[in-house]
């Protein structure tokens, strides 16, 4: 496993912006994104729907070209379909004709074959708790299981940066909480850098070292604030400090929270 273990990578956005061309006219979506993510750090990107969170993440993975500015992984510019990043999408996007084992194997780096491939796939299936489902097809799984398989596929790539685009948004509340705890474990095991896009404030506070808040100012969205979350992971969901931050973040997102506010007032 040593050769395919590059370790966590840093991720740098420098004056990154993006315009989409719609009906022949450029439409700015993101502008002036400056962010330095340290190797091994977990960053949550929060922002209202449609503000460009996915676009930001897709640029980091090389799924979308960088419009302006520069984006680099460990100091080297992000390429088209960047091999040092692995993406988990909002939908599991598993290949329906492959078993779970073969779906996870799809994520393996190119040189990994044979016995080593089998061991690595089994390892990641184990990590996400799907060891007993290796021979199953995606259609035989629940949404949460499919998303865990997608996570295992991404981890099998041994990415320097793991890019997660609202991976738990489509799951029921309880499954989502379990998946968040799983991600904490997995991140500790793999030690990978994580960029997690979410619109769930609690999820951001539970998982991230820092929360990046995107917001639209003028025409395009940019970083409104970056908030360091105190305390080491795994965090207590009931921590009063987090509750205060939660109110703050929700207020920034334009959501009033009178009841929570009342409760947290001393």
């Amino acid at each position: 496993m040593s050769s395919s273990l590059p370790g966590p990578a840093g991720l740098d956005f420098s004056r990154v912006g993006k315009d989409f061309v719609v009906n022949g006219r450029g439409r700015p979506v993101l502008t002036g994104i400056d962010l330095s993510v340290a190797a091994g750090e977990v960053i949550a990107v929060l922002g209202p729907s449609g503000c460009g969170k996915s676009t930001l993440l897709r640029m980091a993975g090389g799924l979308e070209t960088t419009g302006e500015g520069s984006l680099s992984v460990d100091g080297r510019p992000v390429r088209r379909f960047e091999p040092r990043c692995a993406v988990v999408f909002q939908e599991p996007r598993l290949m329906p004709w492959r078993t779970l084992h073969r779906n996870v194997a799809f994520g393996l780096p190119r040189g990994v074959t044979g016995e080593q491939a089998r061991t690595e796939v089994e390892h990641w299936l184990d990590v996400v708790g799907l060891r007993d489902f290796a021979r199953h097809r995606p259609r035989q799984l629940s949404g949460g299981m499919a998303q865990r398989a997608a996570l295992a596929r991404a981890l099998a790539r041994r990415p320097g940066v793991l890019l997660l685009d609202e991976p738990f948004a489509a799951l029921d509340a309880l499954t989502r909480l379990r998946m968040q705890d799983l991600l904490v474990d997995v991140q500790r095991t793999a030690g990978t850098t994580v960029l997690l896009v979410t619109h769930d404030v609690d999820e951001a506070l539970h998982l991230a070292d820092r929360v990046v808040l995107l917001g639209v100012t003028g025409k395009a969205a940019t970083i409104r604030s970056v908030i360091a979350v105190p305390g080491a992971r795994p965090r207590d969901r009931a921590d009063p400090v987090l509750a205060e931050l939660r109110v703050e973040l929700l207020a920034e997102l334009g959501v009033g929270t009178p009841t929570v506010h009342g409760r947290t007032q001393p």
């Binding site: 379909f81 091999p83 939908e91 996007r93 004709w97 492959r98 078993t99 780096p109 190119r110």
Partner: protein, 249 residues
């Protein structure tokens, strides 16, 4: 589950056979118009006994198999090209669609003129028949593979031939298999067209010959045999496809 369903499939043919027997015996049609099933069986015995029947069956089957192999092969190749490449699609698909609009029989005089009256024109006509359904299903299936899966393939480092092999073709396989079955069915259709017009052997020839000699029993026999062969070849192809889909891991 499969036993009662299999048994159910035989009910309608048996009922048809019974009605045929009743109708033939009722005197509504003359014996020359509608011989009873027994006579068709007798005709089968007679032709089989003379060894003639096997020649007709073998030559027709051979024409379909060879023609289908070429037509389906061409349909797969061109369908893949047009389905995978936008440039090829823009350049080729209008022409192919126009050719597709030509009714099968319109090709016959031209094929006879160019290729003579041997085996070649018949095989080419079968190939033309098999080509179009395979071409259309393959090109459409490859062009419409779920773009989200294609993006996963690219995001996980697949491109070019590896993307085609790991994502595009596997995703399109079920449609490709049904396209092949449609192509085979159309191959039989075009075979009969070819043999009706210019042939001295084969089931199509048997049909036209029995008309000329007033042997309605042989005519019905040829039709029953065409149905049986068509169904048999389709079943075999479907079975092969099913095994292929079940085997992929």
């Amino acid at each position: 589950m499969s036993v009662p369903r299999g048994a159910l499939g035989i009910v309608v043919p048996l009922a048809l056979l019974g009605s045929w027997q009743l109708l033939a015996g009722s005197g509504v049609y003359s014996e020359a118009q509608l011989p009873p099933p027994g006579e068709v069986v007798a005709a089968f015995g007679e032709l089989a006994g003379r060894g003639e029947l096997w020649h007709h069956l073998a030559i027709s089957t051979q024409r379909v198999l060879i023609g289908f192999a070429f037509g389906a092969g061409g349909g797969l190749a061109l369908g893949a090209l047009v389905g995978l490449s936008r440039a090829a699609n823009a350049a080729l698909s209008p022409t192919i669609q126009a050719l597709r609009a030509v009714p099968s029989l319109a090709w016959v005089p031209l094929l006879l003129l160019w290729l003579g009256i041997g085996e070649t024109p018949k095989i080419v006509l079968v190939a033309i028949g098999a080509f179009f359904p395979v071409y259309s299903t393959v090109s459409a299936a490859l062009a419409h593979v779920d773009p989200q899966l294609v993006e996963v393939g690219r995001a996980y480092g697949r491109s070019g031939v590896r993307l085609i092999g790991t994502v595009l073709f596997p995703a399109a396989t079920p449609s490709i298999l049904s396209g092949l079955r449609l192509g085979l069915a159309q191959g039989w259709l075009f075979l009969v067209a070819a043999e009706l017009i210019a042939s001295s052997m084969g089931l199509g020839f048997l049909l036209i010959d029995s008309q000329n000699t007033g042997r309605t029993d042989v005519m019905l026999l040829a039709i029953v045999l065409l149905a049986a062969l068509g169904k048999l070849s389709d079943t075999l192809l479907g079975l092969a496809g099913w095994r292929l889909l079940a085997a992929r891991r």
